[in-house]
Symmetry: C2
Subunit: 358 residues, 2 copies
């Protein structure tokens, strides 16, 4: 094992550009965009919001009044038609999963770079169409995995790469939240299959340990198993109020994960290696803790608690301004869609299911 | 939710007998018996060791010299023949899995009560024969699940029963250890299918979260899935150097578990409920911590760190002396053997596998 300093870190190690601004149109101004994205862009170094796109004129007006930089409140039709397109350089898509394709398509037609929320779309086929839409154009398409620029996660990845925990063997992960306490509305899109896609909890929550494991291990899913259960009435149209699923990665590690949209708030991802272990806890709900254990010593590493959305936006802008590729490009997001398709299929068939390869 | 005091606990709540002694013959005097069992019985209130049974006369002699109470060092043949049977009341079986049946059979023939290590035997069929051997006799057969008398685990069970975490939804569990660092011998029985049975890590380690979840939830496994991997040469004869497996319990909860015999030491079991969560961490390696979270408050409960083997032996002796049944009887152990059979079968077939019912 190389000597590794736990203390010397640059939380913005990916940043190469310090001048320049990417002007964003935010497509979809729901809870997430209002609570997390707008403040994050306001705090960012390389981004500004100049337009919002929403179905509600009143909401657009309210948001415009709160942020000086926003000059345009557009309807979805106006956005698709290219109204005020000169006012922004890039588009952030944060609408129900099944509408991503439409909005990414509009952005690509307008020649705008795109940061698209995960999961990339409602189904594998539609996600393939998203990638296809951007393919062969100059548009940068990135899928919004905010864990990739979270300092604790990057730190964990470096420790694993340096062999601090030996060979990774098994992973344990979980992501639970009480969705109906957070958004007390049974009619929300996350519970409607035509908008959310395959289901409610693995699509929205399970994707975090699934994808963060890929990032930590530099490995992709090969095969999956899953069990799903929906008991509460509001979840009757989706299979996975709760889910337990296992993932075999192509480095031979086995991941064992749970997700629940009706569970107490809890997030964790742990990698057990032959020589030690690394734990991210809490992991995924906008705050990330890091613990490293080896040879009987357990170290709690307090990394800088950053605004994960600010870092994600600045990383995207940095790559766009530098003309460099993004890590979580369309192909990267597609691998998760292939895994999600297999996970939901496995729950139905009860069989270990191979994950399609790009 | 009933008001629940986190502080008022009797760590020996099960104890009803304070006089009397159960004299034990220990069958199998390997690492576990020497390091943990002999000192535990020495410290116990209701037990004493009067005989040891082993294939090595030298080992028997060494152990006899260390403990005044031990009058007899017997060979397996002498034990089977009833030599010095008047010197002990009960038998503790801690030999390789595939030899439990033989020794339990001898004990039953001698009319001795039996505390048998888990898993009960190497295969489901042999475990059924163990139960059959004791069935219809006056012999008390208990399977040695030490978590059932661990104060933190009992405390966790009471909290769950009292509704402190709402409805249990998903469980996450893990049990890893570096077997070949602990016992640096590739020829050990845990790696030999004819002695260990179905495999190495779920049989020996995965059984802890599998069974402790049953105890916490008062629920039994209905269906399982699993993935297994053996990479290191020493594990070539067993399928599960590492394993990830999921369990559906009959209360609708889904458990997601990992086990590794070549991983860093780590044990945990967490129950996520609709209103809170309970975590045992560390969980299974002779020390157990308890954390309870609800409504934004996380409480670390420091229960008495007891000698888990001492408590297990005293509980067994208490029930025998009181003429009361044991919790982990043969039928209880058999349910785990049914689950283990299904878990190993599921890894081979890649299919969700129903767990046989007693």
């Amino acid at each position: 094992m190389a000597t590794y300093s736990l203390l010397e870190r640059d939380s913005r190690e990916w940043q190469t550009v310090h001048d320049g601004t990417v002007r964003f149109a935010l497509v979809g101004v729901g809870w997430w965009t209002q609570e997390f994205v707008l403040p994050a862009i306001e705090a960012s170094e390389l981004c500004t919001t100049t337009a919002v796109v929403t179905s509600s004129a009143a909401k657009a007006e309210r948001v415009r009044e709160s942020y000086d930089s926003i000059d345009h409140g557009l309807t979805y039709d106006e956005f698709a038609d290219g109204t005020a397109a000169e006012a922004y350089d890039a588009v952030y898509v944060c609408t129900p999963n099944a509408t991503h394709l439409e909005h990414v398509g509009s952005a690509v037609d307008l020649g705008k770079d795109v940061l698209c929320e995960k999961p990339m779309e409602a189904t594998r086929e539609r996600a393939e169409a998203v990638v296809e839409a951007a393919s062969g154009t100059d548009v940068t398409l990135m899928v919004a995995y905010r864990m990739h620029t979270e300092p604790a996660v990057r730190h964990a990845r470096d420790l694993i790469r340096d062999g601090v925990i030996g060979e990774p063997t098994v992973l344990n992960g979980e992501n639970s939240q009480p969705l109906l306490d957070m958004i007390p509305d049974a009619d929300q899109w996350r519970l409607a299959p035509d908008l959310t896609g395959y289901g409610a909890s693995v699509m929205d929550l399970g994707i975090y340990p699934l994808n963060t494991a890929r990032f930590l291990l530099d490995a992709d899913p090969v095969a999956v198993q899953s069990m799903m259960c929906s008991a509460r009435e509001e979840f009757e149209d989706v299979p996975d109020e709760h889910a337990a699923f296992s993932v075999e990665y192509d480095d031979g590690t086995l991941g064992s994960f749970t997700s629940s949209q009706n569970g107490s708030d809890e997030t964790r991802l742990e990698v057990v290696g032959t020589e030690g272990r690394i734990e991210l806890h809490p992991a995924f709900h906008m705050e990330t803790g890091l613990t490293v254990a080896r040879d009987g010593t357990t170290v709690s590493v307090e990394t800088e608690q950053v605004d994960q959305m600010e870092y994600e936006f600045d990383y995207f802008a940095n790559q766009v301004l530098a003309g460099e590729p993004v890590y979580a490009d369309g192909e990267h997001g597609l691998v998760d869609m292939y895994a999600l398709e297999a996970i939901y299929e496995a729950a139905e068939t009860g069989q270990t299911t191979s994950v399609r390869r790009p």
